[in-house]
Symmetry: C2
Subunit: 720 residues, 2 copies
């Protein structure tokens, strides 16, 4: 496949000063048209003047330690809760920051901040009256305590170490000065940042694209002082790091009600993205999103005024600029860059409304990877990592393409990594080929629209909260990953959307999560209107896939609000003394069951003898189908992504909807997939397996029998 | 051990007409002093006049089919809920009894009963107004339905087949007439029953003891029409079968508020004993207990007036006469008979305040056992079953003895079962020896009082709801079984008792169950007073053992209300994004850990780095210890009863309390146990294992080194 036609363009190379020759050699090898710097690297004139377009990385809120030293009140903040302290008598002393990483946090005991502090009797679940506690010399003294009750302090603190910098220091042993971060809500800081950006643009005429990495507020990373729990909390989509007395006052002024520390602290558990948001949190998020969009728009306008373009990297300080949020388009970015391990991340990027979509591949050119394992060092196999990620990314690109790909990090680490370098070269060629096919006309799709229902709806399209490996305990990310490469339309809807009629143009509804989480839906299921509408949808011919603990909530007559459709329910003890229906596993399932991909959920039991059990384990139904009027419902106890799992999901969708798979191209070998591009009459066949595979492919362009090497991509023009 | 001294007495033999010779032979072999009849057998004059005391079994509410035919409204009743029916339009028709066993139930559509019927929109969780439904020709028609909502009917029905008789028919293929049962709350039935009992006493002068089996209301057994779910519901301690319009009216008159069908139906799940009782259920139970005691007292008085004694069998229609209930003693029974598989059942019987305590051993002389497996038929091994049960019973008898033992069933089934017959003979001898030791003076006990805390407190001392094998999914029954043979005091306390100071004379508190069940405690844990009192208890030197999901409830800052003591918490998703403390399993535990007995509970995580993890599985702490002030707390993820498990619990108690095990006798071999009887200076050593064991025993009487055969009991007089 060394086709000269696909050897150049759409590739962003990380250059590195001191390695000018390498930079230009690798740019040639990988067909780069853009050279960028990275966090920790610089570009030299030999590179910037070599005729490539230049991206320059800017983290706008960082690298201003001098300003931060002069204006410590311009730094960013967060709410934290102390660990509980048990009262041994009438007086309890609490050092709020005990147990937190002292290099990350510093108490904010200014009067504006103290006004938001709270002390709680957690045993009783009650706020302690303000007159019963005082603060002095770094500690809170609580009076009139009840012996043996546990007390906590909710407090505001400064974040004195920008978290990505903190990560790089602790992971990659950086020893440079700790970078601080400014809050654009601080008026002087905001003026300063705008002027700083103008100066930067003046002084860097060679830069074509400013790569914002990212905007203002980082996802949440709370470190502890004890190495046995260095990371106390991490949530890629949390808004906790956006808070400040000024933000709280702005909220009160706009919404007419005040938030409290407890809106953030939630009994010490914080408002993690995996939990259903409260109405107050939704209001707060909307305010932050508007704030971020407005400030970002100003930055983009400055960048444009210097004739440069503004791309945004969506992974670090991105909070509030969700690409599927209401205000993203108003910012006016010229490009969106997403780092990807997985197919769902490609779809997230590719589907955003922005002119240029770019993927930054993994592995990052760093000694160790995000998971902490070696990559570009002894023990690492970067070429294997790259190939494994490509298996995920390729199938998503076959469905919906992006404009560019690229890498990041220290280019010099590629020296001697010939296998890796060749693999990237090959991926570049395949990417460009796929991109051209898409440019000629979209691939064929089945007439199937899958609606994924959860609390967040489209705001959290495709992603839950971070990368696959950070959220792989959630069944939904496995389903999203499978969906990312299937020839179906996928949309993400909220319960509000269901009330608004979102099921009208859906064929299959998916709900997948654990009881009480944002993905299953929690208390949203207590609304009978939702249950009624979904029942209508299924009985009139729609399909339902419930996975894990779908529609689970307490207080109804079944634990799963959709138990009457699924034919199974979740027993958390409510069924004590009630016998379930006995069943026999069906010998022939109506679609191919990948038994390794299917798991069980403890407590699932059959509630309807007409439910067909396609697979069970230890007497627990794991995969069931039930007819509901004109529709069908599938229950899946567990689902672990694999090529075989994706294939099972495709066949399940075909069975549920009655669609003809070959309309979009269908392969006979379960570990192969394909995409049919009618405009270019080209069939792309991918072997997702680790063994060679012979497969027959049928598509509107004809039928084909081919043999693919392990992981191979085949581009076949079907000329008739 | 063929000591002539222990060959006679304290043994109740089931005689059988037609097998007179066998009856007298076996009476001789087993040392019987009493002969009884059984359900399904009769005694002939050759037996009753042979010089033995005679027990006659009476099920007072059964065997009155003629009266029942004339007074069908005197039969017993129950509330049932129909299965939900989904509305397909504005009108929904429900046949209430569809899916129930038609030979067990018959609708009660009398006006008094219909007044209590209800129709529910289960989708909405709302009662349907009375004007929207009507009943005719066995079916309920609901109007103004909302399409796709599910509707149920809660209704009263007659129970037309006494459940023990139904069980014997369906299990043992009886073909005799189905027996009906009368409700003593029906005035004419009550008069009739008293007169019937008087007549019976008149006509049976040979009977010394009337063995009531039992009183009025059976435990609940609801059969379905479909063999795939023949048993729909079974709860040994449910009060559902006590209900009737008359009972409901009596309740309203006494308590000033009315119960409704939903108080029984609870969304179709009934008020199972494993669930925490509502206040209304507690009131209702108290009323039924008083009613049962009052009526039973009248029967006992009649029996006494004929010079006979009244023993009660505590297993069938016993509901409302709990031996640890407030009114049991007022009935005036002369004896309590408990059938036993397990040690906890012996303790339950032995500890009741009643003159004579008798155990009916298993296996019952029936072709199949309670679990449905063969016993006295091909494939059965009754001698093995008997020995297995004896291993449980013996250790409990060593702690607290009963007055009598015996068997039940068809004596002719023992023909040819020499091994079984010899085993029973041997058990009789050992029992009598133990009984004599107890008579001379109680065995030594450790200065340790264990308080088991659950919603039911002393009312459900030792038992949960039925036999071990019916409740073995509950961790507490395993702990109770282990405790039944340990040299400690055991009491069962409720949350109300904790408020009343019940911890003052406790050394160890046990709470063991699943979140939301009656054993863990459910919402009772939301009371900070409880948490405070238990915290005080532990910090001042008490010990806590939490097992499974102890103290679990939603809405607090930790899922386990006692997490701050245990050092672990249960994550049901609340900890999303929070990292647990990492830990290393300790290499040397402070007591012997039986790893096979310890299980894990999914979702358990370490919340305090000072918690010592003695055992873990798949990264989940399974057994932990934490120091709390002067006390200690143990968490146990799972506990499966075995001799080794009991030993671990003993050693755990010694560690937690600092008690000296040898004060009550302590064995070196973990599968052996002992009891030291100081008054008779006798040491009883028991091998609970299936292999011979050498063990050293130290007790206040001295030290001993002995070898025991598998399962052997050794009685050693320590004279020096």
């Amino acid at each position: 496949m060394k086709d000269q036609a696909y050897r150049h363009g759409g590739f962003t190379l990380p250059g590195e000063a001191g390695y000018e020759k390498l930079t230009l050699e690798m740019a040639e090898k990988w067909g780069a048209d853009v050279i960028r710097d990275s966090d920790g690297t610089k570009l030299s004139p030999e590179i910037t003047e070599a005729g490539y377009r230049i991206y320059s990385t800017i983290c706008i809120i960082r690298e201003h330690n001098e300003f931060a030293a002069k204006h410590p009140d311009a730094q960013q903040q967060t709410f934290l809760s102390s660990d509980p302290v048990m009262a041994e008598g009438e007086v309890t002393v609490i050092r709020p920051l005990e147990g937190f990483f002292e290099e990350q946090f510093q108490l904010n005991d200014s009067p504006e901040a103290m006004a938001w502090w709270e002390v709680w009797d957690r045993t009783k679940g009650e706020r302690v009256p303000r007159e019963n506690w005082s603060f002095a010399e770094g500690q809170v003294t609580v009076r009139n305590c009840r012996k043996y009750h546990r007390y906590t302090v909710s407090f505001l603190c400064w974040r004195i170490w920008e978290e990505i910098n903190m990560y790089n220091h602790t992971t990659n042993h950086w020893t440079t000065e700790h970078l601080r971060q400014l809050d654009p809500r601080h008026p002087e800081a905001w003026s300063y940042l705008q002027q700083w950006l103008r100066n930067w643009c003046e002084n860097n005429p060679q830069t074509n694209v400013i790569r914002l990495t990212s905007l203002f507020y980082n996802f949440v990373w709370i470190f502890g002082s004890d190495l046995r729990r260095r990371t106390r909390f991490t949530d890629w989509a949390s808004y906790d790091f956006t808070v400040s007395p000024a933000a709280l006052e702005a909220f009160r002024a706009e919404y007419g009600y005040a938030l409290t520390a407890e809106d953030f602290i939630r009994g010490g558990k914080l408002q993690a993205t995996h939990r259903p948001p409260t109405p107050a949190k939704r209001d707060y998020m909307d305010m932050i999103q508007r704030f971020v969009a407005e400030k970002a728009r100003t930055l983009v306008e400055i960048i444009h005024s210097y004739g440069k373009e503004a791309y945004v990297f969506y992974d670090d300080s991105w909070v509030g600029m969700e690409p599927y949020g209401k205000y993203f388009r108003s910012i006016g970015f010229d490009g969106l860059i997403k780092c990807v391990f997985s197919g769902f991340e490609c779809r997230l990027c590719a589907g955003a409304e922005v002119p240029v979509h770019e993927l930054r591949f993994h592995p990052y050119l760093f000694p160790v990877g995000l998971g902490g394992l070696p990559t570009f060092m002894e023990g690492g196999h970067p070429e294997r990592d790259a190939a494994a990620y490509w298996m995920h990314v390729r199938r998503a690109l076959a469905r919906q393409c992006v404009d560019r790909i690229g890498l990041g990090g220290y280019l010099h680490l590629t020296i001697g990594q010939e296998k890796f370098n060749d693999a990237i070269e090959e991926m570049g060629i395949e990417f460009r080929h796929l991109k051209e096919l898409h440019a000629q006309g979209a691939p064929a799709e089945l007439p199937v629209t899958v609606a994924v229902l959860h609390c967040w709806g489209s705001l959290r399209s495709w992603t839950l909260s971070g990368h696959f490996h950070e959220t792989d305990g959630n069944i939904l990310i496995h389903l999203n990953e499978a969906l990312s490469g299937l020839p179906v339309k996928v949309k993400f809807i909220s319960f509000e959307d269901v009330r608004g009629g979102a099921l009208k143009d859906a064929d299959v509804l998916i709900n997948a999560g654990r009881e009480g989480d944002a993905w299953s839906g929690g208390d949203a299921w207590k609304d009978p209107e939702i249950v009624e509408e979904i029942t209508r949808f299924v009985y009139e011919g729609g399909a339902l896939i419930g996975a894990g603990e779908p529609s689970a909530a307490e207080g109804m007559d079944t634990r799963l609000a959709l138990a009457h459709l699924l034919g199974v329910d979740l027993d958390r003890g409510d069924y004590a003394c009630h016998f379930p229906w006995s069943f026999e596993e069906e010998k022939e399932a109506p679609f191919r069951v990948d038994r390794e991909a299917v798991g069980v959920t403890a407590g699932i039991r059959l509630t309807d003898p007409e439910t067909r059990v396609l697979m069970s384990r230890d007497g627990i139904p794991a995969l069931t189908v039930r007819e509901c009027g004109k529709g069908r419902a599938v229950y899946l106890g567990g689902f672990t992504y694999s090529p075989g799992a994706a294939r099972m999901l495709l066949e399940m969708l075909l069975y549920l909807t009655g669609a003809d798979g070959s309309a979009a191209g269908h392969t006979s070998h379960p570990l192969t997939e394909c995409a049919w591009f009618p405009a270019s009459r080209t069939l792309v066949v991918m072997n997702q397996g680790e063994e060679p595979a012979e497969t027959e492919v049928s598509c509107p362009g004809g039928t084909l029998k081919v043999r693919l090497e392990a992981e191979q991509t085949l581009f076949c023009r079907m000329d008739g």
